[in-house]
């Protein structure tokens, strides 16, 4: 199985290195692939450092299945060993040597395998004794150093190279052709190559190749990392490796293109071999203020630029409603009346809380606030509830008013008639058969009825005006969305 994976890996690498392909295309493809490998490697390393060895082992093993580099197997073995699963650890280390029989640390790994085998044997024996004695099994000490994947390329390919490891931290810098005490040759191969290395300082020497001069550089290998080196033999120097990360995944990175006129160099996180020297790095993402920074790279240097993007101080409100037609007022600005079929209203607003009123004919208006997030789109759906029909209340109110009005009229007339009758009585001309007596009496009764009916109807009307079994209009805010990518940005705010 491992052999098959190895073959597939080799075939994959060969495919990457097919000469018919253009150098540029190959470079882009290699960079993308290495970036994918790097992500998996760093994810496993992060879990390992967090003490989550099981997850780290799973990520490394998954990484190996996707990208069959032996470093994944070694690291998975270390995690298994940390977990105390010595058999699995032993299997990973064996696989490691199977995949990479010429590994620079072959001897060390063999020694580790032997130690594990011994430990397993000891544990088996101890287990039987412990079962007899009932004592718990003591865990074995583990060398927990992760390995890194180092990819070395040359331009043109096929150049012979040698790799030296600094075994003495106090050793002098490596001198080509010198004695170089404290340095140990760990690999001699041809580029391109990938190596699984222990943490430490190495020196790479690319021999003279064809009519090109020798190139060399120091490299520092970090645990659980993927290092990518490339020597441009025509220029006699190793290229630097620049990696740009940001707090916003997918942010576009422009290298030496501050005005972002050219296609982006990549999107975060992105790493690539670049010429040594001073470079401008512009990182931008929709909804974030673009950041431009400068980086100085030495040959063969691997540098990570971490950019912190901050969101812009405005956002967009994307508003839709169930009402076929509605008007939006945000603060003192009335925007527009949308009709059914129109695209949702998208308004650019300063970040923060804004008063929002959405109204529609025949529906209860929504009064509330909406918070516009910085550099994001806040989708909002306003559910406008139809107003509760007040027809009955109006009819009752009108009837009530009519009744009260009639009552007032009849009351006034009744009073007038009474005053006339009183005056006539004082004059001594009030006749007992005066029809105004009966008329006034009926007017008074009518006023009573009018006031009574008006009161009852008024109370009913008030109740029916107040009564509202329907809920209030409401807004449903969805999770804020990121700005659309370049070219898909929401339109400018409309309204009046």
């Amino acid at each position: 199985m491992h052999r098959v994976l190895w073959i597939l890996t080799v075939l994959g690498l060969l495919a990457v290195l097919v000469p018919a392909r253009t150098a540029s295309a190959q470079g882009v493809e290699t960079t993308a692939r290495l970036e994918a490998i790097r992500k998996r490697m760093e994810a496993g390393q992060a879990r390992y450092l967090a003490g989550d060895y099981a997850e780290a082992a799973r990520l490394f093993e998954e990484g190996y299945r996707a990208h069959p580099y032996s470093a994944f197997l070694f690291n998975a073995g270390v995690c298994r060993q940390k977990l105390g699963d010595l058999e699995q650890a032993l299997a990973r280390f064996r696989d490691y040597l199977t995949v990479d029989p010429n590994a620079p640390d072959r001897d060390k790994v063999l020694a580790r395998i032997a130690a594990l085998e011994a430990e397993l044997a000891r544990q088996a024996e101890a287990k039987s004794e412990a079962e007899k004695a009932g004592a718990p099994e003591a865990p074995a000490a583990v060398d927990g150093a992760m390995k890194a994947l180092v990819v070395i390329e040359t331009e043109p390919a096929g150049a012979p190279l040698r790799l030296y490891a600094r075994i003495d931290p106090t050793a002098s810098p490596f001198q080509v052709g010198g004695e170089n005490p404290g340095w140990l040759e760990v690999a001699a191969t041809t580029a391109p190559t990938n190596l699984t290395l222990d943490v430490g300082r190495y020196h790479v020497v690319v021999e003279k190749f064809q009519d090109l001069n020798l190139s060399e550089t120091d490299i520092d290998v970090l645990p659980g990392h993927v290092h990518h080196f490339k020597a441009n033999l025509s220029q006699g120097e190793f290229m630097a490796f620049l990696r740009v990360t940001a707090n916003v995944p997918g942010a576009t990175v422009h290298l030496d293109d501050a005005s972002a006129r050219r296609p982006p160099w990549g999107s975060t996180p992105h790493g690539e071999l670049v010429r040594p020297g001073r470079h401008s790095v512009r990182v931008a993402a929709p909804g974030f203020e673009p950041v431009t920074t400068w980086v100085e790279l030495a040959r063969g240097e691997q540098k990570l630029v971490e950019v912190e993007l901050s969101r812009v101080d405005y956002g967009f409100l994307r508003l839709s409603s169930n009402a076929p037609e509605f008007t939006v007022r945000i603060g003192t600005d009335v925007f527009r009346t949308l009709r059914s079929g129109d695209a949702p209203l998208e308004v650019r607003l300063p970040a923060g809380v804004h008063p929002l009123v959405v109204s529609s004919e025949g529906r209860k208006p929504f009064h509330g606030e909406v918070e516009i997030p910085r550099g994001r789109v806040q989708p909002a759906f306003v559910r406008l509830i139809p107003t509760y029909p007040r027809g009955a209340a109006w009819v009752q109110a009108i009837l009530s008013a009519a009744c009260v009005g009639t009552g007032v009229y009849l009351g006034v007339e009744s009073n007038r008639l009474y005053s006339e009758l009183e005056a006539d009585r004082r004059l001594g001309v009030l006749a007992a058969d005066d029809s105004r007596v009966t008329k006034g009496r009926w007017f008074s009764i009518g006023a009573n009825v009018g006031f009574g009916a008006g009161g009852i109807l008024g109370a009913l009307a008030t109740y029916n005006f107040v009564k509202d079994p329907l809920p209030e209009s409401s807004v449903r805010l969805s999770a804020p969305e990121e700005f659309p990518k370049e070219g898909e940005r929401p339109g400018a705010p409309g309204g009046s």
Binding site: G411, L430, D433, S444, N448
Partner: protein, 440 residues
Amino acid sequence: MRLRMVSSAVLGFAAVACSWGRFDDVADGAPVVVLEKPRDVRSGFGSALAAATRNGRAALLVGGTPGASHAALFDLGRGELPVEHALMDDLCSSDRGRCFLTDRPAALPRVVAPSGLELEFCFAVGAGAFSGQAPGVLVECESRDRFTIPVPEALDAALRSGGSQPEPQMIALAAVGAPEPGLLAGSEQHGLAWYYPEVSAAPIDLVPVQGWEPGFGASVAAAPVGEERLLAVGSPASGRVHLFRTNDDGVPRPAACVEAGPGFGRSLALGPLTAGDDEPELLVGDGHMVTVLEVAPLLEGAADPCVRLEDAAEVAHLACRETGEVTGCSEAELGSTLVLGDIDGDGDNEVLAGAPGLTVRGIARAGAIVVYDVEGPGDAEPVDVKFLSSAQNGDELGRGLAAARVGARDIIAAGAPGSARAALFYCPALPAVISGSRCR
């Protein structure tokens, strides 16, 4: 604060406006009582009125259309609670013979019938003949007794002729004196006036010194002057009023004559305006105004020739005055009926003048009773105008008029034939000496 005041005002208004009981209160014991028209009095109810009082109890005769309808008798009682429906409604009924109801009936509180029977609350209601009796002046009493008084030959003949459709014979009547009242009668149609010293006596013809005059007897009035009786007979066609005075033998003789323009004498009233005055005043209506004459100076002169009105002494004129309530004096027919009555109970008589053509509160010809308190010589202004608060167009209140003695004062009884009503006015506008419970 303002809201509280408005609320209080609204609630107060609602409370007052909603109280219908106050209309019962205001109408309870109304100062004007309207008498119910009897069903049998088919038309003109209220055209003729006469009131009789005896022993503190009053009765009122209310007639319908003169010469064509019946009369009814109402009990006004002794106080302010009259019986509003008629005691009798078949006076001067043709069911029991032929009767031409007069527009000027005479009340006879007590009378001794020709049969010798003493009767109370009798009324001379007109000319005619009861079944099986000779024609004459018809007298009917509350007791349903009735009798006929003979009339002069000319009228007697007219009453006997005509078959089944005789010409109506209209007479004017006035009673005078007590306890045995005399009766004065006149017939404008025949130019006659005659007098009965007692109702059981034979008629004595009254003849003007100047001789027969057309229209003589159109109006009559009488008043006692000591033991004597003063009789006034109007002759409006000639514009004259003739005064006759009885002497010791009880036979009236011409005593004076007053002459004015045509119409003068259309209506007459005779009586003292002031309590204790032995000499009565003569009130003469001409259809537009009322003239008040001192009788004594007239009697000092001769009966012939007639004294011109402008030469008569102590003359007062009572004219119509328009107010906010009444208008249309030119059409008022002021004085078409004239009555003297003490309506404020002060002992002095007030002049009650019917003005059936007055417009009341914009209601044309609603009619009214204009009250004058004539204290002395000179023109007098109305002190009160009585009308119906329920006036209707064409009522013609005042076409019939009487003063009914109730207690120590008179109440005004007036007919409104236009709406077939008769009303009793209990409360004068004058500061009343005697005031009843209806006057508040």
